[in-house]
Symmetry: C2
Subunit: 324 residues, 2 copies
């Protein structure tokens, strides 16, 4: 399948410049890719001469800090809403935006629509765990969940792992506060029972300390717990790496020894950076939707477009529909 | 107040040897301290000649992996149960154990009893955040909470911060998935409203990424979320530090440069180690109860006893009773 992807030129802290660079890099790297660039006329004009890029104007922009539901209701001609409508109309199979996560989720759910049978879409992310990438979700689309939602989340994330990450029979675990079946809140125990019954390759609970160091492929949780866990990983990595940096440059002697190592630490920091994975897929809507980090640079944008293209080529949407 | 502390000689992965060493170190460092050492006769005999140590026999031991409720019901003569009864009887003002967290919580709640007006005791921990220590709780005593419990947790942790960490007017924040008032699950929003109403110095939400890098003193959450956050911090620190170590020793060249720095990284690892803070206080019972990490060595045991003594000297139990 030749991927046609709508890209939100206005999305992200450094939009539109880094998004324009990312689109150019992505279409250059992938000679089959078609991009529909949506944004303010002034912004998209830079892309008019680029081959395999079509420009579509939008007269409004949803800012990162706007209230999502309010913004998508009042800004019907925003780049996010126009982009979702293009997917809905069948002009493209996917949408990538580094804009407001809440606004993209709301616009995709309302504007593109959920797949048949999906109660709630799940926002997932691929974490750079030690042994292999691990998919964690929900990371914030649904702060309040019913246990049956988690069964769907798990099945959709399994479909993502097998189609995009090429994992056969992806193993699923439930984020919980102990390894035994009987551990956790009432909610977690109900999820455990339903997952055991309905999810092939469900392998039990996983604790917070094992998220980055396990043999599992998919970790399922509600959007509140997943968001806390994800942000705690980001914050802890940042703090520990900054303390390593201070320790290495504590005095002149260690500074001398450390200088040749700072490259290694930088590499590590990049490895732990979620941007390398190009964004968080929103699974369960009628199209491939990937949301990039607000702080994305052009490389992260290009990665996000590439991930969206891979998902389209691997017919992710059909596979998710079939998984339920 | 002269502190009299019951210490569970059988608690911890390396008990009784490290506990015995920890008791000797603690009584040596603090010339006013009295310890009541509880354990199997064979184990405690090593302490019989130590000054300011009284030995009390117990015929049973609760293993780390036993089901807590079952264990405290069937093992009434275990070191944990005997220890709690000594506090209940007024023979000591505090109890320290590095044994099963679940068993100590259950034994303390049932055996020593809750302070008047306390719905649920809260298990807290002191985290080595960048700017200053921060108290996080509940970290696992109550997987299911009502919003009103979090108000009590916050008030009790404030009392701990001001009496043991000597913070005046400790600031409290709610662990949530966004900084605005309207963010979070239904439960988090209800907690936000109650905390705003009833907790002085409540300063709003805090996200997972800021736990180790904030200006706050107390972070309040339910026991499920708190346990996930705490274990995610532990796991992430461990993974990042081990990756730093591999990066530093990736090749002969960097190995040569890194050798003098491994001490710095080790120091950092120790700094991130919760053992340095001597354990997690269980707040809301009629006595000072501190639970050490199962992997505690003798230094961590001595620290835990010291923390228990400080809390007794500062009349923590009375202050918690007065805070509600």
């Amino acid at each position: 399948m030749v991927p046609r992807i709508v890209v939100d030129v206005m999305g992200g802290d450094d939009a539109p410049s880094v998004v324009i660079e990312g689109i150019i890099a992505a279409t250059h790297a992938d000679q089959d890719l078609h991009v529909i660039a949506v944004g303010l006329p002034d912004a998209i004009s830079a892309l008019e001469e680029v081959s395999r890029v079509t420009c579509v104007g939008a007269s409004q922009v949803i800012a990162m800090d706007e209230h999502p539901a309010g913004a998508i209701r009042t800004k019907k001609d925003s780049s996010i809403m126009v982009g979702c409508k293009l997917v809905k109309a069948g002009d493209a199979q996917g949408f990538f935006s580094a804009g407001s996560t809440g606004a993209v989720m709301a616009a995709a759910t309302l504007g593109i629509g959920r797949l048949k049978g999906v109660s709630r879409p799940v926002l997932a992310t691929v974490l750079p765990a030690i042994n292999k990438p691990v998919i964690l979700g929900d990371i914030g689309a649904n702060a309040d969940c019913k246990p049956e939602y988690l069964v769907q989340f798990a099945l959709m994330m399994q479909a993502y792992a097998s189609s995009v990450l090429q994992v056969s029979l992806p193993q699923v675990r439930l984020l919980n506060i102990g390894s035994e079946d009987t551990k956790g809140s009432q909610f977690a125990q109900e999820c455990f029972a339903l997952l055991s019954e309905h999810v092939p390759q469900f392998a039990g609970n996983i604790e917070g300390k094992e998220i980055l160091d396990s043999q599992t492929d998919v970790i399922v949780t509600d959007g509140f717990t997943g968001n806390v866990a994800l942000k705690t990983i980001e914050g802890t990595s940042k703090v520990v790496l900054s303390q390593v940096k201070s320790a290495l440059t504590a005095n002149l002697m260690s500074k001398l020894f450390a200088a040749p190592l700072s490259g290694q630490v930088k590499k590590l920091k990049a490895q732990m950076d979620p941007d390398q994975f190009g964004g968080a897929p929103l699974l369960g809507v009628k199209g491939v939707v990937v949301i990039g980090h607000g702080s994305s640079g052009s490389v992260a944008i290009a990665n996000g477009i590439r991930v969206t293209a891979t998902a389209i080529r691997n017919e992710l949407t059909n596979k998710i529909a079939a998984s339920l």
